[in-house]
């Protein structure tokens, strides 16, 4: 039942703050993922270009977040550092993206 000492990295960060930071990051990311899905559908992109568009907007959001909110030093606010702010939860945000992509693609390009 002995609890192992946390690694020195985790010791220097306060868990509730880390969670709050991650929460605000994923709030921004998931919202903008659905917006970028809507945009992709409106533009009428299909298959590979659509996914590339998703990836590029996702990276752009992450970059904007880490340069403004995290002051270009995401290592200080997120355990994962640059990788987390840029690519974190990329797969999880894909579901709303696909939903809005399909919805707007259908509304604009299939029914007319």
């Amino acid at each position: 039942m002995a609890t192992p000492l946390p690694p020195p990295d985790a010791q220097s960060s306060y868990v509730p703050n880390v969670q709050k930071n991650a929460q605000s990051l994923y709030y921004v990311k998931s919202t903008l993922a659905s917006l970028s899905g809507a945009l992709t559908g409106l533009l009428g992109l299909t298959s590979l270009p659509g996914f590339l568009f998703y990836l590029s907007t996702y990276l752009l959001i992450g970059l904007a977040f880490s340069t403004t909110k995290a002051g270009s030093k995401p290592r200080e606010y997120f355990v994962g550092g640059w990788w987390e702010t840029l690519m974190g939860d990329c797969v999880g945000c894909a579901a709303p993206f696909v939903l809005f992509w399909t919805l707007f693609y259908a509304l604009v390009h299939i029914y007319d």
Binding site: A2, Y27, S34, G50, V98, L99, T102, Y105, I110
Partner: protein, 267 residues
């Protein structure tokens, strides 16, 4: 991309729109029903809280031991160990030597445990019932429509999943039926709920299922609210042993030498 099917705009107005709205609203309803059903946590008697806190103090002392100077650590440790041994913090006085502890109360007759279980059942019902009902409802009312087309190609394997309710052999896989649109909404609407209801919402069906699985795991491990009372005599004994085997080293041990090594090169 060749458009080989023309869909009636009435399908958009009477199937695609309503289906999406129903999914969205059902999530909102689930969120608010969960809030209504969530009863505030019951107040525990003072002694029970003291018992739990006493155990927590041992854990805290163990994890932060190195920040305490040796005298403080030893004092705290001896105090806690003796309290654990004597059972000073126990809710009921410790059983005498040789006498066996009274059997734990039956969880089915204990009213406190029953309340906890009812809460669980209610929460699970709120999580599961709407999904089953909606699934049936959508299968019943919106069966057999081709709703939209996915903007990306898929392999033939997805045909059974995406075109449920449409028995057309040769149609392209990316055309989607209403039940499949239901699934897309189920997994994709989480970001909308997050936007509308904030971070800690109970609207998302997919997440609910994941939480349910976790709760099942917790129930197995004995972390449940309605769990029959744990044997604190034994817990205290193990905690005392854990305190005994702490490898204590003070962070300030030899700090003068380290400081001089770092900054006092010129001296």
């Amino acid at each position: 991309m060749a458009q080989d099917l023309v869909l009636d705009p009435a399908i958009r107005d009477w199937v695609l729109g309503p289906l999406t709205v129903i999914m969205l609203l059902s999530g909102l309803i689930r969120h608010y029903v969960t809030i209504l059903l969530n009863s505030p946590p019951k107040k525990q008697p003072l002694k029970a809280v003291r018992e739990q806190r006493a155990l927590a103090r041992g854990t805290i002392l163990r994890t932060n031991s190195s920040y305490l100077p040796p005298s403080a650590f030893v004092a705290l440790k001896t105090h806690l160990s003796s309290a654990y041994t004597s059972g000073f913090y126990l809710k009921a006085p410790p059983p005498a030597e040789g006498e066996s502890a009274p059997p734990p109360p039956n969880p089915l007759t204990d009213p406190g445990a029953m309340d906890g279980m009812m809460d669980m059942v209610k929460k699970q019902a709120v999580g599961f019932l709407p999904q089953t009902i909606l699934m049936y409802y959508i299968g019943f009312f919106f069966n057999g429509f081709v709703l939209t087309r996915l903007p990306f190609p898929l392999t033939l394997r997805f045909k059974a999943m995406l075109q449920r309710g449409i028995e057309t052999q040769d149609m392209d896989v990316s055309w989607v039926s209403s039940v499949s649109w239901y699934f897309l909404c189920l997994f994709g609407l989480s970001s909308v709920y997050r936007l509308l209801l904030g971070e800690d919402n109970a609207a998302d069906g997919g997440q609910n299922m994941a939480a349910m699985n976790q709760m099942g795991g917790a129930a197995m491990m004995g972390g449940m609210p309605g769990q029959p009372a744990q044997d604190f005599v034994k817990l205290f004994a193990t905690e005392r042993e854990n305190l005994d085997i702490v490898e204590y080293s003070w962070v300030c041990e030899g700090v003068e030498e380290r400081l001089l090594e770092k900054y006092g090169k010129g001296l």
